[in-house]
């Protein structure tokens, strides 16, 4: 696996029945590529949290995953409302998810902190009313 493999997904807004499809597909493709299970687990958790956030908060968006021999780079870009206070949003337990989302078992305020915890690098670029782009990297080696 010398080249970079690029995977692209569109996340539909407000569709909880399909939430996680991109993450599941990435997981299966990483398995096929022979990536180590602990690395796949980290990517799966971080990507799913990001995907769910896009469904809940951002009216969907685009996910790009680049798989290289050294690392897996995930870019999640949305045109949602943006994050007003990143440090507050990063705090475990802080959530702005509405009640109907909480009734599905989400909204515990763990999303961004899980993404940070399970990746080796995470960057958030956000602008109110414009959108948010999150870049995460998990090292393969």
């Amino acid at each position: 696996m010398a080249d970079i493999i690029t995977l692209r997904y569109t996340v539909s807004p407000d569709d909880f029945t399909r939430a996680g499809e991109a993450s599941s597909d990435v997981k299966n493709k990483l398995k096929q590529l022979g990536i180590a299970p602990p690395v796949i687990r980290k990517v799966s958790i971080a990507l799913y949290e990001g995907e769910i956030n896009m469904v809940i908060h951002a009216k969907g968006g685009e996910i790009t995953v680049e798989v290289s021999p050294e690392s897996i780079r995930m870019v999640l870009a949305d045109v949602g409302p943006g994050i007003p206070d990143i440090s507050l949003a990063m705090k475990e337990g802080y959530s702005t998810a509405p009640d109907e989302i909480r009734s599905l078992g989400f909204g515990a305020g763990m999303g961004l902190s899980n993404m940070k915890k399970y990746t080796d690098y995470m960057d958030i670029q956000t602008e109110l009313g414009i959108g948010t782009t999150i870049t995460m990297i998990v090292n393969v080696t």
């Binding site: 029945t17 939430a19 763990m110």
Partner: protein
Amino acid sequence: MTVQDLTAQKEFVPVHVGKTADREITKTFCCDLLSIAMGKAPEGCAWITVMANMNTLAVASLADAACIVLAEDVHLDETALQKAAEQDISVFETKLPIFEAALLVYRKINGE
């Protein structure tokens, strides 16, 4: 103890047990908040929960749980059942409360 071994437990009704039936269950994990389960469910665990929806299946698959045990007589709907079969995620249902279901799995894991 494997997922297959759980099928012999009369309190647990197998909803779907697929190709991963021989998978070893390493731990017992109880949680109903999917965001917490996503980050903390140990790989290879039996995840006991009352949260029975499509997202439960996604979290179990992505967190690499060995199986889901739905406690308190909750059930997956038809669409979720289909997804469990499609994605080959092992799911059991039980009338037991979460604690009792978890204790039962825990004892089996520990050979009691």
